[in-house]
Symmetry: C2
Subunit: 230 residues, 2 copies
């Protein structure tokens, strides 16, 4: 249940830092001596080689990996590795970066589960700075890895959790956890998303709660039978 | 009070669409015949020319512009235009895209108010897909321009607004607007941000409320004396 990060350029490096910070297991694939030296200095797990080779993906444990993250410098490599990884492990989650947003459909057809185009994400972020500057600042603070005062996060309601079966009002959520539920996802209903659920909404086993609250509260929720949704 | 978009590449085009959608005034600067033809086809305001020339910025109305958005293909041009625009209008808001995140400090020193590096924003977004997939989907839906069911947005409490002076509980916010206040920004206290404010928090004139609710509700809030914070 580890992640394989292909490509240790700008995007790969920043992403790996975030995985490290969150305590996730990962291994990085890169072929350049320079990047490998940096990975050694940083004490990170790596495989030196070309991610397009099945051998390299095997060494990185593709058969038991939870996800493959593609941040190779050109889209043709990302497409090729997507096809290979999908063949080698039908269940692995494949997330790909695309340099040119017009290659999105090629990556999806090759088997990627999700494609991110930094140019699009960057443009949307710039629009947000212009159109909703305060929302932008708010989200910047609550989404930061290691946010101190407040975070938006997700918790899954496990079978037998004390919360299961209660309405939001009955759970006394706000007083109990100093947090609010801004979304509820019903996994038994094809991941139906209820936004801004009202106090009479009932928390069910298997639901995923999107909460805004103290990072400490998330630990409390886990102790009470919710675990982080992964 | 318009925006000047410099560069009509991938980022500039997407950004311009968002401005158009939000009903903001803008003019695009680009020098290539191909992009100008596209701008004509789309019926958008433009100035053909090099954004590095003061003449071009003058034609685009730099003296009375609210903001300059820099999405030129190389960072040296973005730095140069930042310096020029800052000289020509000390109060204009300058938002710059940087290709290489290591040029961030150069752009800030040149006078940019905010710098966005798509590679960083893209990496953070990829990390969010891995670490908090449900939060990612939730935000994707509520931040989309033209979100139908729910939006995160910001409203300013104008002098004389009925809401001013009431606590959140007194305002009956949730019942009144089918929305929740997830943040309050006190502009009179150096933009102090209160996260997840509790029911006894008092709404003051000049506060900016970060709300999660129906887009229709935002219109209602405006009618009652709140305006969109700009
Ligand atoms: Ca259910
Ligand atoms: Ca105040």
């Amino acid at each position: 249940d580890h992640y394989i990060v292909c490509g240790y350029g700008r995007v790969g490096q920043r992403l790996t830092e975030d995985l490290e910070h969150a305590g996730r297991d990962y291994v990085v694939i890169d072929q350049s001596d320079e990047e490998i030296e940096q990975l050694q200095d940083e004490g990170r797990l790596y495989v030196q080689g070309n991610a397009e080779d099945e051998d390299t993906l095997n060494k990185a444990g593709i058969d038991r990996a939870f996800g493959v993250i593609l941040a190779l410098p050109d889209d043709s490599s990302n497409v090729f590795v997507t096809l290979t990884a999908r063949e080698m492990n039908p269940n692995v989650f494949i997330l790909a970066r695309t340099v040119d947003h017009r290659n999105r459909s090629k990556l999806l057809h090759a088997g990627a589960d999700k494609v991110i185009a930094p140019s699009e994400v960057g443009a949307d972020r710039m629009a947000q700075v212009i159109l909703r500057p305060n929302v932008d600042q708010f989200l910047e603070r609550v989404l930061r890895a290691g946010a101190l005062s407040l975070q938006i996060d997700e918790v899954e309601v496990l079978p037998g959790a004390p919360l299961a079966g209660q309405t939001l009002a009955e759970s006394n959520f706000r007083q109990q956890y100093d947090a609010i539920v801004i979304g509820m996802i019903d996994q038994s209903e094809g991941n139906m998303m209820r936004f801004n659920p009202n106090p009479t909404s009932r928390i069910q086993e298997g639901d995923i709660l999107i909460v805004l609250g103290d990072p400490e509260m998330i630990r409390t929720l886990r102790d009470q039978g919710c675990t982080p949704a992964t």
